[in-house]
Symmetry: C2
Subunit: 416 residues, 2 copies
């Protein structure tokens, strides 16, 4: 019997609090399927490592270290923001990958990323066959942006959602106590250049119109300064304070990012701050309210300490499913999350063809945003609420989360 082929696993794009849980699902499932698949190699720094034949032998890691991936944020093998050129323009990168696969007996390529990565995996699945070295290519979904199609939601998103909703609730309690003599308006800037999923999730913290956040600014809704300021003023007059969550991707009527709205520093650089400080300053300039603002940036997508249990479980399950699909020879597919019911929340794993996922983007539906454009609807809450459920804190050591760092032993090179 032929020696079973190896798996190559690669992480792609911005990392999340749970992408390593997917890696854990891949490696543990492959280890349990001994005899059916060979080793799991990981590409160092994502597809860049694959192109450079810079591979990591995960069989050199202990079972304990691999299990610890389930509670460790970031990308354990390194990720990459690197998009292959369109195959019509340049086949060499694709051919190089197949060459590396052939040199290391890679029979299965598992690409863990967003819609760009699904495109790459799909193209690889086709060119391998053309070159006489067929590789089973599986996309494994991952993105805090929650914008992949054909899956109910994306691993990584639920944990950011839990973090931003928790954070704005907490900051709301703070501002509510300070408003009589200090801060009246608090602004939190969150991720989401194109889709407002994360901003929407922050809205879960508000269970009544008195709760933070009272105002959400979505990239899907053109920013209207007058309407926004009127809403802030009305809220402050009613409650004494106001909490705003703004997506980094909010744009003005001309389609320009607000944070690029022409403000420059003394050296002519585009203003350093993001849209959070921009909005906060606008409130103070126009309404005279004292402001404070926060920009969560990477803190939101790496906050494994407050990860969603549902998110961690789904991330793991998708990694496990990818290996099972690979062993079954299901080429050019992506395992998905299928929602069975909202309440009680039930989900199962499904499968989608890569070609139908690649390069598509799922926006926040207009029906998830209230008519006035400043908050989320009940339909949105029904969709989002299960995704932030459950707590699975990491182990702590000396008061801090105890995250694992792998040895990441290189696979000896075989190509020149």
């Amino acid at each position: 019997m032929a020696k079973p082929k190896n798996i190559l696993y690669a992480q792609s794009g911005g990392v999340t609090a749970v992408i390593n849980a997917t890696a854990c699902g891949v490696i543990e499932t492959a280890r349990a399927a001994k005899g059916k698949v060979g080793k799991v190699y990981a590409a160092r720094n994502g597809i860049v490592g694959a192109l450079n034949e810079d591979l990591i032998d995960t069989s050199r890691e202990s079972a304990r270290a691999i299990a610890a991936l389930k509670h460790t944020p970031g990308g354990a093998f390194g990720s990459a923001r690197f998009k292959l050129k369109p195959i019509e323009e340049d086949r060499t990168q694709y051919e190089r990958l197949i060459e590396v696969f052939r040199a290391h007996d890679i029979g299965y390529f598992l690409y863990n990323g967003g819609n760009d990565s699904m495109d790459t995996a799909w193209k690889l699945s086709r060119i391998g066959e053309e070159l006489g070295y067929p590789v089973v290519c599986i996309g494994v979904p991952k993105t805090v942006d929650n914008d992949l199609v054909l899956t109910d939601n994306c691993p990584g998103f639920g944990s950011v959602a839990k973090y931003v909703a928790t954070s704005i609730r907490e900051a709301g309690f703070d501002v509510a106590s300070m408003h009589s003599t200090s801060t009246q308006v608090f602004v939190l800037e969150v991720m989401g250049r194109h889709a407002g999923w994360i901003t929407a999730a922050a809205g879960l913290a508000a269970e009544s119109e008195n709760d933070a956040p009272q105002i959400l600014l979505f990239p899907e809704i053109t920013f209207d300064q007058e309407k926004f300021l009127a809403r802030v003023e009305r809220t402050v007059k009613r409650l004494g304070w106001c909490a705003v969550v703004v997506s980094e991707g909010v744009r003005d009527a001309e389609g320009k990012f607000l944070a690029e709205g022409g403000t420059r520093d003394a050296f002519g650089h585009v203003q350093l701050g993001g849209v959070g400080p921009y909005i906060a300053q606008m409130v103070t300039d126009k309404l005279g309210y004292k402001n404070h603002w926060a920009v969560a940036d990477y803190l939101q997508r790496s906050a494994r300490h407050i990860a969603s249990k549902v998110d961690v479980e789904q991330a793991y399950a998708l990694g496990a499913a990818a290996v099972k699909l690979a062993i079954a020879g299901e080429n050019a597919v992506m395992p998905t999350i299928v929602r069975v019911s909202d309440q009680p929340y039930r989900w199962k794993i499904g499968v989608a063809p890569l070609k139908d996922v690649a390069n598509k983007e799922k926006k926040l539906p207009r029906s998830f945003i209230t008519r006035d454009g400043f908050h989320i609807t009940e339909a949105c809450r029904r969709y989002l609420s299960p995704l932030i459920r459950g707590e699975v804190p990491p182990p702590f050591r000396n008061g801090l989360p105890d995250y694992v760092r792998l040895k990441n032993v290189p696979v000896p090179r075989r190509l020149v």
Copy 2:
């Protein structure tokens, strides 16, 4: 026998993740001492409420609601940034407070705040006697800045410390995975206008020189751009990435805040961003590294979800001790934390005279900062490490921390 006098409790200054745990300690201890003290009233929005005779009757809250204060951030009765005028200049505010105390049978005033508040409490303790209405005035320490003297540490600080150290560790795992094709330098701005305690605490996340944060910028150390950039470059050359924690209070050689360093937007406003984005942009301009930055702002001091167990316990114990001191008639004092040993960490409650605490500031000792000025020493770790120990997460409901909002029923006014 005379009816026992009531307690007036007031929160002051910036709130914390655990100031309500102190309130819980005050109220639960007073309830248990029935017969020795009357009701606990709380001043709405801190001393402002006391001046306006706007008092809250905490006896109208259930035992369960009061117990929930122990896990709820912010200030449950409202706080104030409001400093009384010096008594030599204007006695009327002090006299007004005594008038309110007299009208509501207040025999004990518990003022929960920083060094300004200790000064106010001290002055009140003297003027009451002069006016023939002696009130037992107790200061209860609270400040994320950790800058009160005569107490080993201040409630509120340990939880911010745990939050910032956790956050920069998590962001470090993120940047480490992204550096090959994306972000190389990550900057986190933290609180601390005058003292670098919070910045120092972030340093706990680095257990080796390869860990985030590799560079700390303290307000105690004059910012030297050349040395800083050289250190960033050296770190990126060694590891591929670098994580920096900067205190909002960092100053240049002329004593000016860095973030006020002359950059203005197109309308002539002082630049919106804080020192975090300023430092991040400097790194990109001078060294060409791609940066990301975060400003935690209120998120850090309201993050009850990741509070330190030691901090919560001490906050509660100080509130309880304040009531016991009050009942014992100990006037013009502040209960303190006394460290008995570092390892195992043991502490007990002590007492300090308010006049020795008022208006003093405890800076980070130079011996806690490494010679090069960019990190913390072993002595600093020994001091800080116990303060972030233990996890006491709040209860969660629907995936989010379940915090309490009190009814805050007003006490009927008696003055005109």
